[in-house]
């Protein structure tokens, strides 16, 4: 027996409308006896598409002749659905409802108080392998509002680690992730910004001001530094995450107003400056040859970045539901570090770490380590007593300091 899924919110809208009959669309997963019917055409259709006729109480007197279609009838507080084939033979189908907003997250009740999250707005900058996973996990948890920033499109080399699939190839990542979010939380409000954040600082500032939380999942420090400026101005919380070379490990930094900023972190001993994972050509100088670029672009496995995304999501949920009887309050007192480090393998930066099977009290792989980062009293971003790097020691007195007769070329 075919099973017909009806969107409960759409059905209620139809029942409360003045229309007695409307024509919508049905989408059949061929060979699986599963059909989803809608009152309105879906933006990215799937399966075999036919008409769906929605009726209150009575069947229509005339239905246009066509190959096949589905009928949904509401009568006596009951919904019935039928499949009609090209010979006008009908077959009753089993009806199932896609739950309404209130029911959508009922399974999370008691674990996480989802009502707290439905009004929260999360800004996600960068929708690569990190940002895409995080966005969908937050949607699954019940976050109701998103602003998504990424100018990139889904490419073949993304697929191994990205939530997008082959059918998304060529699409803007913002649009593809919006669809994935809506697939998990159909009532989520999603604003799209398919732009390079580094070229739109005013917009970034405006969106940071509107957000309850910012996730920075970009692959470059330029955006992290520019974002830090906006965070400090607007007193917002942000979580930064990245993988280090070939995703042999990764780190997560949480910025809270009044605490150390990303710049304080970069100036600290704990931070591995040059270890950034290189995932695409744009992270390399233009003069690097194709051969060199191919050697330098080395990405890790999806399973290597998953634990890092997972911690970012947990930190995000703690921040979004802080002090509100969320059901995960205990984490508030435990996830209290500014900076977290994770190693997937004992390579390069982590080569000196202890083997997993004999770690004793030494740091080892597949475990999170937290650290408190001190505020830098001379930080160029968050301190009023900035001390700049003047390059002492670079010159060492060997460069001539004869400045006489230098005339600036102002005609260029």
């Amino acid at each position: 027996m075919k099973c017909i899924y009806i969107d409960k919110d759409e059905a209620l809208t139809f029942l409360y409308s003045e229309d007695n009959h409307i024509e919508g669309q049905s989408y059949e997963w061929e060979g699986e006896d599963v059909v989803h019917v809608h009152t309105i055409a879906q933006p990215h259709a799937f399966g075999h598409v036919t008409s769906a006729y929605w009726h209150k109480s009575v069947l229509p007197t005339a239905i246009p002749s066509q190959e096949q279609y589905h009928i949904v009838v509401f009568s006596d507080n009951e919904a019935k659905a039928y499949y009609v084939n090209s010979k006008f033979q009908s077959e009753e189908c089993k009806v199932k409802f896609i739950p309404s907003k209130d029911e959508m997250f009922s399974r999370a009740k008691g674990i996480l108080e989802v009502d707290i999250l439905s009004d929260k707005r999360v800004m996600i900058i960068g929708l690569g392998s990190f940002g895409s996973q995080i966005a969908i996990e937050l949607a699954k948890a019940g976050v109701g509002e998103f602003s998504l920033f990424d100018f990139d499109r889904v490419e073949l080399h993304n697929l191994a680690r990205h939530t997008c699939t082959i059918k998304d190839l060529g699409r803007l990542k913002t649009n593809a992730i919006k669809d994935a979010i809506i697939g998990k939380n159909k009532l989520a409000r999603v604003d799209l910004f398919p732009i390079n954040i580094n070229e739109h600082h005013t917009l970034m500032d405006k969106e940071v001001a509107k957000a309850d939380l910012v996730i920075c999942a970009t692959d470059n420090n330029q955006s992290r530094f520019a974002l830090t400026k906006c965070l400090l101005k607007n007193n917002k919380v942000a979580i930064f995450g990245r993988a280090v070379t070939r995703a042999e490990g990764g780190d997560v930094f949480r910025h809270r107003p009044g605490g150390p900023c990303y710049n304080c972190l970069v100036g600290s001993q704990a931070y591995a400056m040059a270890a950034e994972e290189i995932t695409n050509r744009s992270q390399l100088p233009a003069y690097v040859s194709e051969e060199e670029a191919n050697a330098m672009i080395q990405v890790g496995l999806s399973s290597d970045i998953e634990p890092i995304c997972n911690l970012i999501v947990k930190l995000a949920l703690v921040e979004l539901s802080k002090g509100q009887n969320s059901g995960i309050e205990s984490l508030e007192n435990e996830l209290e570090y500014d900076y977290y480090i994770w190693a997937n393998r004992r390579e390069r930066r982590h080569v000196g770490w202890a083997p997993f099977n004999n770690a004793k009290n030494m740091p080892t792989i597949l475990k999170w380590y937290g650290a408190r980062i001190a505020k830098d009293e001379h930080c160029p971003s968050c301190s009023s007593n900035t001390v700049l790097d003047l390059g002492e020691g670079l010159n060492d007195g060997v460069l001539s300091e004869n400045f006489e007769g230098i005339e600036l070329d102002t005609e260029e």
Binding site: N221, F225, A274, V288, P380, T386, L390, L394, L399, F403
Partner: protein
Amino acid sequence: MDNARLELEKAVLATKLPPNMYMFRDMGTSNAHLLIGARTNAKNVYTLKIMLKDFPSSAPVVYTTKPLKDRNGNDLEVSHELHNYGTSDGKTRICHCPDSSWTPRVSLYRVYIKCRLWLECYEIYLRTGQSIDTLINEINRQGGNPTR
């Protein structure tokens, strides 16, 4: 660049260089830049144009206001060996700092010193044929400069 940072940069430059040697121009526009003079040990004079669009969030783009030539007299082309992004519109863009190493703590004066060192490397290249990449690696190894 906000005003506080601009004042800080001006204060540093005022203690290090004579006032006629540098000039902030078009501030508050997308073409904001610092023109700064440089004289190498061999007494050749260059003017550097340090673009300030995203400074200090990102490493500023630096050009020489005149095209630089290779040993054959041709404009420098984008090259890893010669650490530059090529010549166009009559100016050569030099590489003074990889993006991955940049932090907002770096002053414009430090950028100037790095460019001075680059120019010294460039002139050694013109004299000897040694690549700028080799010379810069030597600087990094010794923590010093190429003339040592």
